[in-house]
């Protein structure tokens, strides 16, 4: 009798009401968690050049995180199945230019260290018996709070392209294609820290297979009040040129950037530019300028002191 009652109760109990599901979902970063934010009002026509460049870098940085929107989308749904120490979304067929493919998203946790999660977004050609190809894979160590913790994820595209999976990723709209992306981040406490290494093919429109790529490194930090910093460094694999920019800004928008250029042959110069809350230049030092352009304009004392990051 007790068994019958138990069976009835068990059959009657249903739903998706799960705290553990949340913990698994919590392991995948949301784009908004690690995207860089800089005040962006209506930009004046005379916006400081390095301010504009900082905005562009942040746009590229955030654009590289577009992949996470897939995770954001998946997070809207409950897991398809619950496995031992894991949750699975999918497999589900893909649409549009990916008809004939299916995706799945798996998150597992270490039973010995429940705060440690691993996840992978994979695709597979339907019915071909092919192996699942990793697209996004990552790890996360939860420290409490909504998606608070430290994590790393990696996006690779070469295997997907080799398998015939259509992948059109044009970060800058100029034909550059993503090769790899590595992101390490910590959202456990302020300042939030995000380090990104991005590799872009630069000859996607002219060469097959792609031969040249540029490696771009970003490091972004942000305080809770909106104060932030972005470091950017790009190296062209073909020319060896390196450009690095370190920008910092206050919550109001007022900021400073130091741009360093190296040609690989010994030339190493750094330009410093500061701007006010309207992003209009207040100071500029451009060592490679030639008269009649002034090498230095304004006073360095007018630059904000943003040394906390």
């Amino acid at each position: 009798m007790r068994g019958v009652v138990g069976a009835v109760l068990l059959l009657a109990a249903c739903g998706n009401y799960s705290n553990e599901d949340l913990e698994y979902m919590n392991a995948v970063p949301a784009r908004v968690d690690i995207a860089a934010v800089i005040p962006r009002a209506l930009m004046p026509a005379n916006e400081a050049e390095l301010s504009r460049l900082t905005h562009d870098v942040i746009t590229a940085f955030n654009g590289a995180l577009l992949f996470l929107e897939a995770a954001d989308e998946i997070r809207k749904y409950q897991p398809t199945s619950r496995i031992l120490n894991g949750r699975v979304w999918g497999p589900a067929p893909m649409e549009g230019r990916h008809v004939g493919w299916q995706w799945r998203f798996i998150i597992t946790r270490d039973p010995a260290a429940p705060e440690m999660f691993s996840y992978a977004f994979e695709v597979q050609r339907i019915g071909a018996g092919d192996a699942w190809i990793p697209f996004i894979s990552g790890t996360f160590v939860a420290t409490g709070g909504v998606r608070k913790g430290m994590g790393h994820f990696r996006i690779t595209t070469d295997a997907l392209r080799a398998a015939g999976f259509f992948l059109e990723i044009n970060v800058k709209g100029d034909g550059e294609l993503l090769k790899e992306l590595d992101v390490m981040y910590s959202t456990a406490a302020f300042p939030i820290s995000v380090t990104m290494g991005m590799v872009l093919y630069t000859d996607a429109l002219t060469a097959t297979p792609f031969m040249n790529w540029v490696t771009i490194d970003y490091h972004h930090e942000a305080q809770s009040n909106g104060q932030g910093a972005m470091e950017f460094k790009g190296t062209d694999s073909k020319t060896g040129w390196t450009l690095g920019i370190e920008s910092r800004w206050l919550p109001t928008g007022r900021g400073r950037a130091d741009a360093r250029a190296m040609d690989g042959a010994g030339v190493d110069m750094t330009r410093t530019q500061c701007w006010d809350d309207s992003f209009v230049q207040t100071y500029d030092y451009t060592p490679w300028d030639q008269p009649p352009d002034p090498i230095e304009e304004g006073m360095i004392a007018d630059c904000p002191d943003i040394s906390t990051l």
Partner: protein, 530 residues
């Protein structure tokens, strides 16, 4: 107060009629068929006390009525064919006794539904005319049929039923009685009513009280058929006069040749029970048994004494005065007649009335509607609370009383509420919502002011939560949750009560893992009897 069409009782008792002469009575072989059936088929509501009345009559007849246990057939919930088989069996036994030169009598008692000219025995029926003709033609010297059921007067109509006991049959005829007597609980157009307080139908209750000695008007220790009927008539009419269903008038019919009065019970022979001495104040004495039901209700007049042949046991005694009660306790031991002196009673307020329900209680099924607030919380905090936070709810319930059984409540309730919760492991605040739809089966003990109740409940719980800023998808969970209920209703107005209630429930949670969670719930309600 009255419970009508609910109750039909046909007490057909063919029994023993003994003449007033003891010697003659000893020469009479008495048989009894006593039937009670609470169920009368799909178009009737279950009776509450038909079976209990039959058991009471059976006990009195075998203890005081000269019916040997082997000659008494008790039919509880029997079908029509079983009843007819019992009659056939008694006829065969009677015929055998007659061959041995014995005189025979049959007392046929039926308590149950009767409708559309038929006795209702569960889903089966026996036409009233048919059972009457069968008893009338039985080869038994004296047949007494007692029918306790609605409109049972139709049973006596052809024999000149009388609404009043306008008979004073005190024949001194030495001839042996032969023929048939019929008693019914009501006329052909009246309902027979039950009382919750006395735990039986008015008619059978007063008939039984009379047979126990209350009807011994002559004081000779023997209760005759006519004494019993007259007593039952007076008391039934008096008790039902103010009822919603109207006064109920028992009827009587007889067709006896050479009859003397017929002794039904001998309350003196066992010399046990309660003795009300001549000097005891007049009034109605209630003898309440250990279960709270009235075992006997004796109307005593000034200057007379009464023997009440109660079975051994402990009884509470009550006599009602205009401004108070006189109550006391007595214990009847086997073979002992206990005198109830007035000194053994004490004054008591009406609130101490030992008669259950402090008076006549309406046994009609009735609805009540309640509304109020509840608060529930799971036991397994904090993990349980991170799933199901403590929640306040608004609730309404609809209760049906005395439908399944006396003092049983079948209740349906609906509650809804919400609360804020927090999943600490991921730091996610959420809004929890719950709707519960439940049914309860309760037993209550009605009191004058306070009515406690306990029972079981099964609830369908529909729960969901929405996370702040929609950072996670909505979640839901539904489950069946069995539990226990207890509480009390405090009557504040005639039809209005305040209800305090507690619940303990089992909650099976099986999403992340199988977990047996429990929750408690407290409620304050206002209930109104419709």
């Amino acid at each position: 107060m009255g419970r009508f069409p609910v109750r039909f009782a046909l007490l057909a008792l063919v029994a023993v009629t003994a003449t007033a002469s003891t010697a003659r009575a000893q020469g009479l072989r008495r048989f009894a068929i006593v039937a009670g059936n609470d169920v009368g088929g799909g178009d009737t509501k279950s009776l509450l006390y038909a079976s209990a009345d039959a058991r009471k009559v059976h006990e009195i007849l075998t203890r005081l009525g000269g019916v040997k246990p082997e000659d008494a057939t008790l039919l509880i919930g029997a079908s029509a064919s079983q009843m007819l088989s019992a009659i056939v069996a008694v006829e065969m036994q009677a015929a055998e006794a007659a061959r041995r030169g014995e005189r025979t009598a049959l007392l046929f008692y039926y308590s149950g539904h009767a409708k559309d000219g038929a006795l209702r025995l569960g889903e089966t029926r026996i036409p009233v005319d048919g059972i009457k003709a069968r008893i009338a033609s039985s080869p038994i010297d004296v047949r007494i049929a007692i029918l306790d059921s609605c409109k049972s007067g139709a049973f006596t109509r052809t024999k000149g039923a009388r609404k009043a006991p306008a008979f004073e049959i005190q024949s001194e005829s030495p001839r042996d009685a032969k023929g048939m007597v019929i008693l019914t609980s009501s006329t052909s157009d009246e309902d027979s009513q039950e009382s919750d307080a006395i735990g039986g139908s008015y008619f059978s209750h007063h008939l039984a009280s009379g047979l126990l000695g209350g009807a011994d008007k002559s004081g000779d220790g023997r209760v005759t058929l006519f004494e019993a009927y007259a007593y039952a008539y007076d008391r039934t009419v008096a008790d039902t006069a103010e009822s919603a269903a109207g006064a109920q008038h028992p009827t009587f019919s007889y067709d006896l040749a050479g009859n003397g009065d017929l002794v039904l019970t001998d309350v003196a022979v066992r010399h046990e029970g309660v003795y009300l001495p001549r000097e005891a104040p007049s009034g109605v004495y209630f003898m309440v048994d250990g279960k709270g039901f009235v075992a006997a209700e004796i109307s005593k007049a000034d200057g007379v004494d009464r023997r009440v042949a109660l079975a051994p046991g402990r009884y509470r005694v009550k006599r009602r005065l205009p401004d108070r009660l006189r109550i006391g306790e007595i214990e009847v031991q086997r073979g002992q007649l206990v005198a109830l002196a007035e000194a053994r009673l004490r004054d008591a307020p009406f609130s101490d009335d030992p008669v259950k329900g402090a008076g006549r209680v309406d046994l009609t099924s009735r609805w009540s509607l309640g509304a109020g607030a509840t608060y529930q919380s799971v036991f397994a905090a904090p993990s349980g609370a991170s799933l199901f936070p403590p929640t306040g709810m608004l609730a309404v319930d609809l209760s049906l009383r005395n439908f399944l059984r006396r003092d049983w409540i079948w209740s349906f309730d609906l509650a809804a509420g919400s609360a804020d919760g927090f999943v600490s492991s991921v730091g996610a605040p959420f809004r929890f919502s719950e709707v519960s739809l439940a049914s309860s089966l309760l037993v209550e003990w009605p009191g004058r002011y306070v009515t406690p109740f306990v029972g079981g409940r099964i609830a369908l719980l529909l729960m969901g939560r929405r996370f702040t800023d929609d950072i996670y998808p909505q979640q839901f969970f539904s489950t069946l949750s069995p539990g226990l209920v207890g509480g009390a209703a405090f009557r504040v107005m005639k039809n209005t009560s305040l209800v305090a209630r507690g619940r303990l429930h089992y909650l099976l949670y099986n999403i992340d893992e199988d977990r047996s969670l429990g929750y408690w719930e407290l409620a304050a309600m206002v209930a109104y009897d419709l």
